[in-house]
């Protein structure tokens, strides 16, 4: 009886092992295309009319006129490529784009003032932003994409690039293969950081997206961050409503609400991947809520909210550290949040 049970139990274990190994085989045989179905394949023609609103990660359009400035930065991807779009139009100048494929890590280069290719005196001071790749285009040409190999050298890599200033939504579109960006395989939990700027013959100038916080071009003190693998499964996420996120929050680390006309208000710039209600709450470090601001149905892109350093009763708050809790809720009821700290010094 016991030996019979053992035999039956052993067979079950054996069949379970076979089934598991079959599943594992299936998992390894699945191509990246199957694991990550294309969300949106972009036609690289320089016309940004085929990008959806949710793919505009930085909205910098002030007056609706795109001439001589950058109006928006777009990012999306499918199983094969990362697509980047820059909506701008300018004659006699160029456009540079810097990409950090491992945002937050120490790899990359933050001083490109002596680089032998497209030297535009660029220096990067935003925390965690050290570009590994760059793109340069002059006066509406297709441009080229480069891997930054050291702070003084860069090597050309293959990427589809096109610029069209006569299109309905003019600008540059770039498609770079994931294989080119990650030769040893896509890294789980990848976060990309991007910054684009117009340039003259010698340096970054005129306009950049996202806009610098306090530095003046060619120094760059900001970037926009996109999470490509939020579930850390080593495959780029499918972009869908479940990819609702706060792309980035930019604000100074310190401000001085003392009515002297300098740094009196805190501007909080929130980048959204979809339209959403945005709530910003300020807490003391002990966790006591001292202020709240709300913006209903903000469009995808950038939103700026301002805090004057006063509490609910309009009294000026004490010096110290305060936590800004930025919360966004979309129409599907999904809610995401991010915490940022700020110091009040009066």
């Amino acid at each position: 009886m016991v030996s019979k049970l053992n035999t039956v139990f052993g067979k079950r274990i054996l069949s379970l092992c076979f089934f598991s190994s079959f599943l594992l085989h299936l998992l390894f045989l699945i191509t990246p295309e199957a694991a990550c179905e294309p969300y949106h394949k972009i036609t690289i023609d320089g016309n940004l009319g085929d990008w959806s609103a949710g793919e505009k990660i930085v909205n910098d359009s002030g007056d609706g006129n795109v001439m001589d400035k950058i109006d928006g930065l777009y990012v999306t991807w499918d199983a094969d490529n990362l697509y980047i779009g820059v909506n701008y139009k300018i004659d006699g100048y160029g456009m540079m784009l810097y990409l950090d494929t491992d945002y937050g890590s120490s790899a990359g280069f933050d001083d490109l003032t002596k680089i032998d290719t497209w030297d535009k005196d660029a220096k990067f001071s935003a925390a965690g932003f050290k570009p590994d790749f760059m793109y340069g285009s002059w006066d509406g040409d297709g441009g080229n994409f480069y891997k930054i190999t050291s702070s003084v050298t860069a090597s050309w890599i293959s990427a589809a690039c096109a610029t069209d200033f006569s299109a309905d939504v003019p600008g540059t579109e770039i498609a770079i293969g994931w294989d080119s960006l990650f030769p040893s395989g896509f890294t789980a939990g990848t976060r990309l950081a991007v910054f684009a700027s117009l340039c003259d013959g010698s340096s970054l100038a005129i306009d950049g997206v996202p806009s610098n916080i306090s530095a003046a071009l060619p120094e760059v003190d900001t970037c926009t961050v996109v999470s490509c693998d939020t579930d850390s499964n080593g495959v780029p996420d499918r972009l869908s409503s479940s990819n609702f996120s706060i792309s980035s929050v930019r604000m100074p680390k310190i401000f001085s609400p003392n009515s002297d006309g300098m740094n009196d208000n805190l501007d909080i710039i929130v980048s959204l991947s979809q339209s959403a209600d945005v709530y910003i709450k300020a807490y003391s470090i002990e966790g006591k809520k001292v202020w709240q601001g709300t913006s209903r149905l903000s469009e995808a892109g950038e939103l700026t909210m301002t805090w004057n350093g006063r509490d609910f009763s309009n009294s000026m708050l004490k010096n110290g550290i305060y936590i800004m809790n930025i919360r966004a809720a979309n129409s599907s009821g999904e809610e995401v949040y991010e915490n940022k700290a700020v110091a009040i010094v009066k």
Binding site: A127, K253, I254, S256, N258, D260, M262, N263, K281, Y283, I285, E286, G287, K288, K289, M316, K318, N319, G320, I321, I323, N325, R327, Y337, N339, K340, A341, A343, V345, K346
Partner: protein
């Protein structure tokens, strides 16, 4: 017999006078000032909701408990609300003696390279009677600010003192702590800030061996309450509540030291954690 009664009467009168002083102090306290509340000098403390005033074993913040007869130390760090640039570090050292015990604390709260608060504290305590401890702590606060605007003082220092009494009992402890800033105004840039004195009451209940229940109340501030239980010889677990937060912690005794961990779970902002090692 008569001598014994006289001693009892003297003890009672000293206790009554202490309570009277504590109550009297209340009248002079206009509003509370709770700066540096999140600078723990022990990772055990936040895990049980943050109460400490009536505890006669946790000397890190309660200067009355400095009379604890064991040499002890604790060093640790913490991170606030998942913000990588907002961290704290702390160090506490206690040197006991039969008459006057001493305790030193260094604690810092650092936000990136723009703002840093540091605390340097020295406490002295002695047992007044068998069940009554008194302690005095002197604390210096230092604030370092990045020079981002004209007129900002890059370094500002001020100080305070606090005086505490602790009545120990078999089932209940009762403590009261009075704090006042000796430098009443703090000026980092243009605006002077006045800091008021504060008074905090604490009670600790010991319903059964190995379990303590405590509560701290400071006028104008939310209550802090929690429970700490010794679930095994080597393991203490704690839970606590304070406004908008649920807290938990544990303290594990390992060969030669203790490992302490606590987490504060805020309704909106997520987790804050503290971790430390301690020994005696």
């Amino acid at each position: 017999m008569w001598k014994c009664n006289k001693m009892e009467t003297r003890k009672k009168s000293s206790l009554l006078s202490c309570c009277f002083i504590a109550l009297l102090l209340c009248y002079f306290v206009s509003s509370s000032y709770a700066a540096f509340e999140m600078h723990p000098a022990s990772a055990r403390l936040p895990g049980r909701g943050g109460w400490s005033i009536a505890d006669d074993s946790l000397s890190s913040l309660d200067n009355c408990a400095v009379t604890s007869d064991k040499f002890n130390w604790e060093a640790g760090k913490g991170n606030f609300y998942g913000i990588s640039e907002l961290n704290t570090g702390f160090l506490s050292l206690q040197i006991p003696s039969k008459t006057n015990s001493m305790n030193f604390i260094y604690s810092t709260l650092k936000f990136s390279s723009v703002y840093q608060e540091s605390i340097y504290s020295f406490a002295l305590a002695r047992p007044m009677t068998k069940n009554l401890n008194a302690g005095l702590r002197l604390t210096a606060y230092q604030i370092d600010v990045a020079n981002f605007e004209e007129g900002v003082n890059p370094r500002t220092m001020y100080s305070d003192y606090d005086f505490s009494l602790l009545r120990k009992g078999e089932y209940f402890n009762f403590g009261v702590s009075f704090q006042a800033l000796s430098s009443k105004s703090v000026r980092l840039k243009r605006v002077e800030e006045s800091n008021a004195a504060s008074i905090c009451y604490g009670i600790m209940v010991k319903p059964v061996k190995g379990a303590v229940l405590g509560l701290d109340y400071e006028f104008g501030q939310p209550l802090k309450a929690g429970l700490e239980v010794e679930v095994a010889d080597a393991l203490k677990c704690a839970i606590g509540v304070r406004k908008n937060m649920f807290t938990l912690g544990f303290s594990l005794r390992l060969p030669g030291f203790r490992l302490n961990f606590s987490a504060l779970l805020h309704n909106d902002m997520g987790e804050t954690y503290f971790i430390s090692v301690s020994g005696n």
